[in-house]
């Protein structure tokens, strides 16, 4: 064991020792999880892999809001270096507010849009002023 450790922890390959060790432990634990599941399924008489009735997302989930938020997030990050923090944030925080406020049958309400705009402006410029101007923290 001592010799093996000496070999593994030589300066040229010591960076691989822990990743291999932890990956092995993860693999063993994964096998144990599978065995536990197999035993449970056998006891309950259910199939090991059962996609029937399985839904990754909640049934009737809000597709617009979930996928909309992922897409808006990606666009937000892409736009940040182009328009910089304050203006990008005003646009995207407004869009996030609008997206999350969408109700079935009522896409846009004037009052809701107004509140979204106020939150986007006040939030983005407030954060920009506090962190960039007052605390001198780097912002995108």
């Amino acid at each position: 064991m001592q010799q093996m450790l000496r070999e593994w922890l030589k300066i040229r390959n010591m960076h691989l020792f822990f990743p291999y060790l932890i990956a092995t432990i993860c693999a063993i634990l994964f096998v144990i999880i599978l065995i536990q599941r197999a035993i449970k399924c056998k006891k309950e008489g259910t199939p090991f892999i059962n996609f029937k009735g399985y839904h990754f997302f909640k049934e009737g989930y809000d597709k617009v809001k979930l996928w909309g938020s992922v897409i808006l997030f990606i666009l937000y990050i892409i736009t940040l270096p182009i328009l910089h923090f304050a203006w990008t944030s005003v646009i995207f925080i407004f869009l996030f507010n609008v997206l999350f406020e969408i109700k079935p049958g009522k896409l846009f309400e004037f009052k809701s849009l107004l509140i979204s705009a106020v939150i986007a402006f006040a939030g983005s410029w407030g954060v920009w002023y506090l962190f960039y101007q007052v605390f001198n923290i780097t912002l995108p």
Binding site: M1, Q2, Q3, L5, R6, L9, I11, R12, M14, H15, L16, F17, F18, P19, I22, A23, I25, C26, L29, F30, I32, I33, Q36, F56, F57, K58, Y61, D62, K65, L66, G68, S69, V70, F73, I74, Y76, I77, L80, P81, F85, S89, I93, F96, N97, F100, E101, I115, I119, A120, G123, S124, V127, F131, F135, N136, I137, T138, L139, P140
Partner: protein, 492 residues
């Protein structure tokens, strides 16, 4: 004196803001304000910086309780019980319990700092890489304690977190591992903790709420804030042992250089669960879990100053920045500091008392207003949280856009993990502790002729092994008992 109190107040208030924003830390607050201390002599500078330190550590409890996003890594355990309390409408009570526990933690660590600095520093220096490795291993036992009902999955998630923490360059031989060629620059120092933490908790939760349609606020269905249990100091009845034990654990972890606040909070939480009369309630909104976490992470503030002032070794990242304040004033901290500068030493103690009292006043009284955040509808709250998260992630390394992409990546990872039933808290704990686990293991083994027996030879190591065995054994027994009760149809 008025200037000192004014600066302490400013420091505490700004520190709380930094602590409360996910991604911003006490270290960042101290670093930002360090250049400002050029304008002051050492004592006012210390009032300001210690205020930032105490405020920065304490502020982390606010988002942890209100939105289940730890404001700082050391408040990871605060959300385990604080957030379920907030969901029950008890946000004000949870915040007040957290603030009071933080105050006690800070004051207890201060007493330790005042009376035991020289002997504790001498003891801490005896802790070699062997004991530090075992302490990190001990902190990892909280994974088992947190994974009741699905221990294998919890431990698996924990080790996945450890594996992820190893991505990047190992500083001991400057070689990269598990990094694709096109990300060699971005991942040289691996994934950063703060984007991972915020992504895993805040962004994943935003996606979950979006999936549900952003219909409600954070309160459980049918719950109102008005009808919820209110805070009273009697919440601490029967908790004094917990407060003192957790504060001392936090202080001691602070004394050990390089062990860190997250380990302190995790060990205190795990101990409290083991000693609790109702361990089954922990993680479901038990005030004792919240008290353990908050008193231990504030206990750290005094503890981390022990090695700094008596040995010249910083106990954590924030005290490493604090050294800069002493150097700016031409003062060398080290074994002779207390004897050579008794007046500064007394001022440091006074500054810490002042900052802890100010932290309590600044947070306790306006908290009723802040606690109303739970009433804000998710649709309006999450865009603002997202804005803060972007700022926090980007500021982690002073302007690396890759960290913002990581925010999204770990948001998706957290969402998927929740879907497939892999717990995210053990994953995060594994990530936090993984790097230190590897570092101290290699140091210990290399420094002792590659002999694994060294981990069982020193008396302190044997005590830590015994503690690990006891708490692992307890967690396994508790897990099996839970399984048996489940089979019998009895719910906790």
């Amino acid at each position: 004196m008025l200037l000192n109190i004014g600066l302490a107040l400013l420091g505490t208030a700004v520190g709380i803001i930094f602590g409360a924003i996910p991604g911003m830390t006490a270290t960042m607050a101290v670093a930002v304000f360090l250049p400002m201390t050029y304008a002051f002599s050492l004592v006012p500078a210390l009032y300001l910086l210690l205020g930032l330190y105490v405020g920065g550590i304490s502020g982390g409890l606010i988002p942890a309780i209100l939105i289940n996003v730890p404001g700082t890594p050391s408040s990871v355990c605060t959300g385990f019980d604080g957030y379920p309390m907030a969901r029950r409408g008890e946000s004000e009570r949870a915040l007040k319990i957290g603030i009071t526990a933080s105050f006690f933690g800070g004051m207890i660590s201060l007493i330790v700092l005042a009376f035991l600095t020289p002997p504790l520093a001498k003891m801490a220096i005896k802790f070699s890489a062997i004991e530090k490795f075992l302490i990190i291993l001990f902190a990892m036992t909280v994974i088992a304690a947190l994974s009741k009902g699905s221990m294998t999955k919890g431990v698996f998630a924990g080790f996945l977190g450890v594996l992820l923490s190893l991505v990047g360059e190992l500083s001991m031989n400057n070689k990269m591992r598990m990094v694709p060629d096109f990300l060699k620059t971005e991942l040289r120092s691996g994934f950063q903790l703060l984007p991972l933490l915020i992504g895993l908790f805040a962004i994943a939760q935003m996606f979950q709420e979006a999936e549900k349609g952003m219909q409600s606020n954070n309160l459980e269905e049918g719950v109102t804030v008005e009808g919820a249990k209110k805070f009273s100091f009697s919440d601490f009845k029967g908790q004094w042992v917990n407060v003192i034990r957790s504060s001392l654990l936090g202080t001691f972890m602070g004394i050990l250089p390089g062990v860190g606040g997250s380990a302190a909070s995790l060990i205190a939480y795990s101990q409290t669960k083991s000693f609790s009369k109702h361990p089954e309630l922990m993680g479901k909104g038990a005030p004792e879990g919240l008290i353990a976490s908050e008193s231990s992470n504030n206990g750290l503030t005094g503890g981390a100053l022990v090695p700094l002032l008596s040995l010249g070794i910083p106990g954590d990242a924030t005290t490493a920045v604090l050294i800069g304040a002493f150097l700016l004033q031409g003062i060398q901290v080290g074994p002779l500091f207390i004897d050579q500068h008794p007046e500064i030493w007394n001022q440091i103690l006074l500054a810490l008392v002042t900052c802890n009292i100010l932290m309590f006043i600044v947070m306790f009284f306006p908290i009723k207003l802040i606690s109303q955040v739970v009433k804000v509808r998710s649709a309006r709250m999450y865009p603002v949280i997202l804005l803060m998260c972007i700022v926090g992630a980007y500021a982690t390394r002073s302007g690396v856009m890759f960290d913002v992409w990581c925010l999204l990546l770990f948001g998706i990872v957290g969402f998927v993990m929740n879907k497939i039933g892999l717990p995210t808290a053990p994953f995060l704990i594994g990530f936090i502790l993984g790097g230190d686990l590897e570092k101290y293991f290699i140091e210990a083994v290399k420094g002792n002729n590659y002999d694994l027996a060294v981990f069982f030879q020193r008396p302190i190591a044997l005590v830590i092994w015994a503690l690990i065995a006891i708490f692992l054994g307890y967690s396994i027994w508790d897990n099996m008992k839970g399984g048996t009760l489940e089979k019998m149809g009895v719910k906790d």
